[in-house]
Subunit: 424 residues, 4 copies
């Protein structure tokens, strides 16, 4: 299924007057509105291929319908999202679930939707049918060098798939950990991981990045071998200039100050990318901004400030990706909600009066500093984000149009009731 | 597979001298040792049928071998455990996974292993193939009365299965909750749950108990409709004298003082039962006592004190059950470790000098109170627990004997490599 | 110091045009804007007398200047706040710090600022110079009946002071708890507390309420005798119809769903009042809405929904109070920021389309339910809150006017550099 | 007050038979018992000068009696502890609270009790009376270079005091942080801290160490500028070989795996020292081992393993210090309980069968690994720790003797009821 230009235009024309009123109002208050819109238009958030199907918990999964049954349909799904919001112009693949049969054909298909291939992701947290050795006790950190070698080779394969598709980064999320005291020698597990990553790093093309993700717990419940940003940074530093830390919002201990971590990683030149989602308790993988929207804004506030301080391009300086699980809501709609929340947070961060904030900080004027951030956050920028979409030919109300066109129903018609997407 | 009396005796005779030395030493320090042994012998911990297979997380499952493929084999597994430690004399079934084809035959089989049927458990957190309406948005709390009715009927069916097997309690763990603000009207969800439970309660035989379990989060990530002990107690109080709260150690927010909750529920006459496991981060479902053994002791300390204050029989006054998930270790060995940890904690709680503690509390002598508990906890009672096993004809070293006899290998021979147990 | 009507009018006239533009824009979108403004005008948040001075931590206190040195100056401070925002029309006193020498004179002074006396607060978490017995090991829960009696008598004295001033409620925040396992018998501590509260309750005038506050930890670090809403509700239920639970936002374990607690307490008719603040880690007592503004909105969403369902008057149905600690910011400005955040959250909760939300919930349309709440939260209602102030004769920009008039400088001139307020 | 040799001997002779029975029993099971005793005898835990008085919370302090009123009396107190257990042979001073008037005399006094001077501690979290600039908004991270300079100079002064007393390390616990989003530019705060620490580092004698402590929160409630081990390690690495991370058990987010942190810091050669205490919720500063004794053992397990792997001397390789707050118990008795818990955990860690554990890890035999650690932890080594004391001329039962001799009563007689120790 592909959205027609006319469908979008028709939708937009109905909402045009209402939008114009709101946009005109807010524009008048924001001298730099054009610059913000410009940046919003350039900002693209990659959609992970595994988020297009219904997710579940260890207690079960309540499947949806019309889910994409193969890589082509996944690309089609992201194409739909991108047509609706023009902010989802990339897809992040998961190997071995998304191995393209014909890379050129796959690229052409993606290209027809205006999509790029973002970071490729390896999987050593599950055993595959044809796999020789098990990852039950870990992969890159494993005590057995043969298992490590197998896992290294898998990552090299993933890089090769990525090269064929035009990806420029490998994301390594390592589930390796332990569930009981005594199970691991922490140091050896760390050293094994480092050695394995070095081998993978050696196969990285010149213009690629290696993203080292960390996670506090789950699927192991006593220790994770790359458990926090400190451990990830240590590894990335030892690996070299192409290695970076990747931050997933749900991968922290309770109450962690993620925005400070982001700031310090940028300071060290070692922040590589981002996985957006939201959570209340653990790695809940909920819609971005659905639980703690102010935190999302504060993180973007640090991102914008820190990237500007280093002269980084917002759109390309870091890898931006959603990593959520859609257990209850239609995955496509859920993703539209996530992208919307991210764009609003980014727009608000762009609106922050940096000079005034710096001045307040210089004077320890905490009241003023708080006011600057809160007043910005309280400013309703939905019309600005919508305007960026409008100018790009996307829908003023992506979810509204999704519903009007009964997109899911049509996908069910095309794909059937019982298709199940690979994924989490 | 059944253990022979001679196998156990032979095993015990090899360890007899070492055991006698340790037991004699500790007995001399404990005047009431015979009373403690007596209570340990009476204390039985039910094994849940779903814990006999390898568990997993949402990221996957690394299956084991020789797992029980049907109810009979599950009973056989618990029979093996009970033969090894004589402390696992009950099995807790999960419906619909464990519906007996012929209840009388099933009872006879269990009886041949010396096993009783503990609380039966209903399942409304997953959809079954033949099920008419989905539990995706909950069951007993559902906005749709037809879904509630279906879930109520399922619980009534479970009661009926339990009656046929001689169970005396129904455990309702309700996964019902929400993952996003706005999804639920909390009050209506609570009221619907109450009405549904009332209907179930009405079908409860006179001598049965209804256990209302609570859980802070997972599988829903914003709210759980029975989320803490306060909500469970509210429901149990409104339901009537046969309704009780069930405490699962892993179902709390970080840092919760579970022993205080236990004490207050006992005070109210509303503590019904216990699910043992251990955890560091969330509902990790690890081996009992593997992470916080002192907490396990402190909980037993409150249980013993509180049950004695009400004149309750330790063995029968509450429902005792393990509820753990065995993702990495052999489930049977893991269960042996859990039972051992529970028995040690119980033995230590029996050893606490109640009068001295009360005296210290009366004098606000905190140093003394702490010393009493810590000195008891530091006392090595493994030989006392072993003595209780010895007298009951169980193994001095259950895991040692499990390994000596290569029990799992034999089960694999009997059942094959690829059997997979239903369960979590 | 008293603000003159002209000072405010002059301030408002400068901002009038800007305000009008924003208010006109938003009013057009909100048919019920007049009803919302009306409710905002009626809504008053009590200021605690102990929040008017600089707070500290156990590591120290960095005092401010010009702090109120006596009860009269505290009333004057709240009078200033109320003149600035017309939303702080009550003061909550702390005994023994604020014992009025002459109740009639004190009432007259408060009256001259348009202030009422909200709930009075007792203090049994510190020893006073003249006190006979120590509260080191607790007060109402103490093992020694003489200590309990002393603490009961103190609470009765507090009630009597409150009667003289026209208060209608007593708030009991009980620091009683324990820091080490074994220190307390939880049941006896609870029973002692209940008996003590019964005696206090017996002295409560007919038209008074007793607020039973709970707190998870601090100043004790193992258990708190009234540690969560379940324990508070249990006490309030046993005490009788005049006893209620009071919720302080900072008094929970990490990740607690406070809005659900609020909803259930309202359902039970047992929610009595609220202490507003914000926190990231513990009972941080930060400015309301400064860390988790969306949570504040969600709580108000439940409050409005639940009070409406019971036909309660928003302004008088519950006790509304700030309970924050101002360690770094000027207490008066900090309080203005808290009140502003509370009013915005309340306004947004009033704006939620209840029928649409109920409809979405009825259909399990989670996307829609989330959208309703988030769209409301993203709507900028600052101009509506400002309009309510404007109509009441308060300042369009209270903090702006506070700064323009250099209020603190003038207070320093009047009171001196080294005055220190009693309090936390 | 000084304990006489005869008092201890008399006490020990009464307990000799009981002790001998327990020690003989356990020794028979432990071939390496002499080596363990030897290491226990060498192991000394420094007592912080600020822990000798009653501590408090922001809600107040319930003072004790007979507290040390000056540095000499603090040394006397530690001398008493050391006489009782011969494991507290060092004192850690806090400047400016403990500035010696005459360093030589102070050293001689300490020497007469067999005490060394451990790390000296600076204080920039409070303002002192004579201080020019305030630390309200931080010290080493302050935006104002003049404040930073003042704080640097204070640390240099502390080093100089330490040199005079024979200390070999400076502990910098930096309270610097922020309580509100926007208050700080995280990067600049970090860079300012680094620059300040560099100046301090430059004044460090050749044979000194600089300990960089971290803390997750409190006294600031949004961010701490040195908030976790990652930030501390980053600073220590940039500073140079004399800079190390110091771990305080209470300074982590909920559920942190501290033993893993310890292991990795040792791996990096950057673990400098330890502050022992225990906690359930936050930085509760409770008696070591009073809440999570198994965690304390697991930490020592990593310390012993990691130090042995680097060939470090256990007694001198790291700085060992208690950092607890004694709000309820007699500080001296509380410290005796802490030291006892630490020595037991250390003894158990020494008992772990390293080869068997390594073998189990190599085979992914998780059951065995868990058993090795738990069996060791369940082994009662109190008699071994007591034997180490006995051989050193200390008391078999230090708290028993403290009570027999009514030490506190005698101190009250000497010092009076109302002395108050400086400290936390």
């Amino acid at each position: 299924m592909r959205l027609e230009k006319e469908q979008i235009e028709q939708h937009n024309s109905k909402l045009a007057a209402k939008h114009k009123r709101a946009f005109d109002f807010i524009s008048e208050d924001i001298p730099q509105v054009e610059s913000i819109i410009n940046k919003l238009q350039q900002f693209q958030i990659a959609i992970p291929s595994w988020a297009l199907g219904t997710g579940g918990t260890r207690f079960g999964r309540f499947s949806g319908k019309g889910e994409p049954g193969n890589l082509e349909q996944k690309i089609e799904d992201v194409g739909l999202l991108h047509a609706l919001n023009r902010s989802s112009g990339a897809i992040s693949l998961h190997i071995p679930w998304d191995i393209p049969k014909d890379a050129e054909q796959t690229k052409a298909l993606a290209d027809s939707f205006g999509l790029q291939f973002d970071a490729v992701n390896s999987n050593t947290f599950q055993d595959q049918a044809e796999q020789e050795l098990s990852y039950k006790y870990g992969s890159l950190h494993h005590v057995d060098p043969k298992v490590r070698k197998q896992a290294v080779q898998h990552n090299i394969d993933v890089i090769n798939h990525g090269i064929a598709l035009g990806s420029k980064a490998l994301t390594v999320w390592l589930a390796d950990g332990s569930s009981f005291p005594g199970q691991l020698n922490f140091r050896e597990a760390f050293q094994n991981t480092l050695e394995s990553l070095k081998e993978i790093y050696a196969h990285l093309p010149e213009d690629w990045k290696l993203f080292v993700e960390y996670k506090a717990f789950e699927p192991y419940f006593y220790s994770m071998t790359i458990g926090d940003w400190g451990q990830s940074l240590l590894l990335a530093s030892k690996l070299g200039p192409k290695a970076y830390t990747l931050v997933d919002l749900g991968h922290h201990l309770p109450n962690a100050n993620i925005e400070q971590i982001v700031s310090l990683l940028l300071m060290e030149g070692k922040l590589g990318g981002f996985h957006f989602n939201d959570s209340k308790y653990a790695d809940d993988d909920l819609t971005a901004g659905s639980i703690k929207p102010y935190q999302l804004f504060l993180i973007f506030n640090e991102l914008v400030e820190g990237m500007d301080a280093r002269g980084m391009d917002h759109a390309t300086g870091l890898g931006w990706m959603i990593d959520a699980s859609h257990n209850l809501k239609d995955p496509l709609v859920d993703l539209l909600q996530s992208v919307e929340a991210i764009m609003i947070a980014y727009a608000q961060a762009l609106l922050v009066d940096r000079n005034a904030l710096k001045e307040a900080q210089r004077n320890n004027d905490i009241v003023k500093a708080q006011q600057i951030l809160q007043d910005t956050f309280r400013t309703d920028l939905r019309a600005v984000v919508a305007e960026a979409r409008l100018r790009d030919g996307a829908a003023l109300d992506p979810i509204g149009l999704f519903n009007e066109l009964a997109v899911r129903d049509q996908l069910i018609k095309e794909r059937g009731n019982n298709t199940v997407a690979t994924g989490l």
